[in-house]
Amino acid sequence: MVKVTYVAADGTRTEVDAAVGSNVMQTALDNDVDGIVGECGGAMMCATCHCYVDEGWTEATGTRRDGEDDMLDCAADEVKPVSRLSCQIKLTEELDGLVVHLPEEQV
């Protein structure tokens, strides 16, 4: 298990225990965290799982995957350098303590 913290657009923080091997989108849904929609179930089709990786974690989460840039182009909220599709961030032991910020809009 690793810990992931979601910071909602209004600043509310939710810390959850997540399974290694799951991803940041699925973990949010499984733990009832609002602010991530994940409409396509992680198929990289919908851009409704947009998140901003906390500045301290960008190195650990790595770079965007192939095609992620193009999908993010259509995200509902502002896309920043730290923007990722949360379904494409797979949880590993190294990501224990990860903090992601959620946009106001997903659709």
């Binding site: 849904l29 009832d32 396509c40 179930g41 198929a43 089709m45 095609g67 182009d73």
Partner: protein, 389 residues
């Protein structure tokens, strides 16, 4: 409005419940579904789940979600009838009253009237997929009836797992209802390269214990036969309640039936295509969820604009991710760009864009199709670059 009842706890029904809470609806929400268990997503059933068997990843929301959002999920319960006069729905001996009713009953697998059809397996529900997965545990000769998205996705997975696969399609090309001849040809080549046998223009006329027979007389030996010959919308409740039904439950651009207390969404809804006004029925996650959002906005008084979402769809077959933006009519012509992206036109108007492993063009198309019509002449002038129109 106090009580909303939703019949059908699939992806669209659940989205309607979630959107209503997001939009601030404070009345009761009762989500009634015939299938047992928590609502789940179907797309992975013919893709990731068939490979991984990870049933947990199918679930759309955990049990705690329904409590925290105060959504009453009534699972494993079949609704028998709608009493429009009394605004009640009946499920065996239970009765649910509504101020507004949302029909989200989806579709079921089509069983063509051919001898032995009952011997074939389906791929529609979580149970169906679990059964298929278990069958693929040992080497199998698989025969797939129907070369549409679901049949081909199954074929790609089964073939990649090393099974022998034959696809039999009655139409002269694959996915004929949904894609251009160019895209059909591309996928035909891909499946044949994988070692899958594909029979086109040759309807299946019999299913036997040991395989299937085609109209041409060809017999295909198989241990497992999958029926993927399309679906029929679940409209019986609506018909019995006197609502208009024509290949689906007919609604207006607000997704309302002629009864102002009943909306319809998703796979079972026939609604005016925003681009043409033509009645259409779509089978996609996008339509089900966008319908749900519109209905919720209307019921909570947040918006009342007509439905205008651009359709989009995807299908994963082996390492080809097919993406479709827009909606082409059966007779729309097509132009294929050098890199394989295919543009479809209804007369002068761009109706759809089909791409494979090209998220950029797909997303550009989705954005652009949401605006004013794109004309063929403009696209030609831009060298078929979506960014240039």
């Amino acid at each position: 409005m106090r009580d909303v009842v939703i019949i059908g706890a699939g992806q669209g029904g659940l989205q309607a419940a979630m959107s209503l809470r997001q939009d601030g609806f404070e009345g009761t929400i009762t989500l009634i579904g015939a299938e047992p268990g928590l609502p789940y997503q179907r797309p992975p059933l013919s893709k990731a789940y068939l490979k991984s068997g990870d049933a947990g990843a199918l679930q759309l929301r955990p049990e705690s979600f329904f409590e925290s959002k105060q959504i009453t999920l009534v699972e494993g319960t079949w609704v028998d009838s709608i009493d429009r006069e009394a605004r009640r729905v009946h499920a065996a001996d239970r009765v649910f009253s509504y101020d507004h009713l949302i029909l989200a009953t989806g579709t079921r697998n089509l069983r063509p009237p051919i001898p032995g059809a009952e011997l074939a397996l389906d791929l529609r529900t979580r149970e169906d997929a679990a059964r298929l997965r278990a069958a693929l545990d040992r080497p199998m000769r698989c025969a797939v009836i129907g070369g549409g998205f679901i049949g081909l996705e199954f074929a790609a997975v089964a073939r990649a797992l090393g099974h022998e696969v034959t696809v039999a399609e009655a139409a002269p090309r694959l996915m004929a209802r949904a894609v251009s001849p160019e895209t059909s040809a591309r996928f035909l080549a891909m499946h044949r390269d994988m070692g899958t046998r594909v029979h086109l223009g040759d309807p299946v006329c019999e299913v036997r214990e040991d395989g299937i027979s085609l109209a041409s007389g060809t017999r295909i030996e198989a241990d497992l036969v999958l029926m993927a010959a399309g679906v029929i919308p679940n409209t019986e409740l609506a018909t019995a309640a006197g609502l208009a039904v024509d290949n689906g439950v007919v609604v207006d651009a607000q997704l309302l039936t002629t009864d102002p207390a009943i909306s319809v969404l998703g796979d079972c809804a026939v609604f005016p295509d925003p681009a043409t006004g033509r009645p259409v029925r779509l089978e996609s996650v996008q339509a089900a969820t966008d319908h749900a959002r519109l209905i919720s906005k209307r019921l909570t008084g947040k918006a009342d604009a007509p439905y205008a979402a651009v359709p989009w769809f995807w299908s994963d077959q082996a390492d080809c991710k097919l993406q479709i933006a827009g909606l082409a009519g059966a007779g729309d012509c097509s132009v294929t760009r050098e890199d394989g992206a295919t543009f479809r036109f209804a007369g002068e108007r761009l109706s759809a864009v089909e791409t494979v492993n090209d998220a950029r063009t797909h997303m550009q198309s989705r954005k652009r199709l949401a605006g004013a019509p794109v004309l063929r002449s403009a696209l030609e002038a831009a060298g078929f670059d979506m960014a240039g129109v």
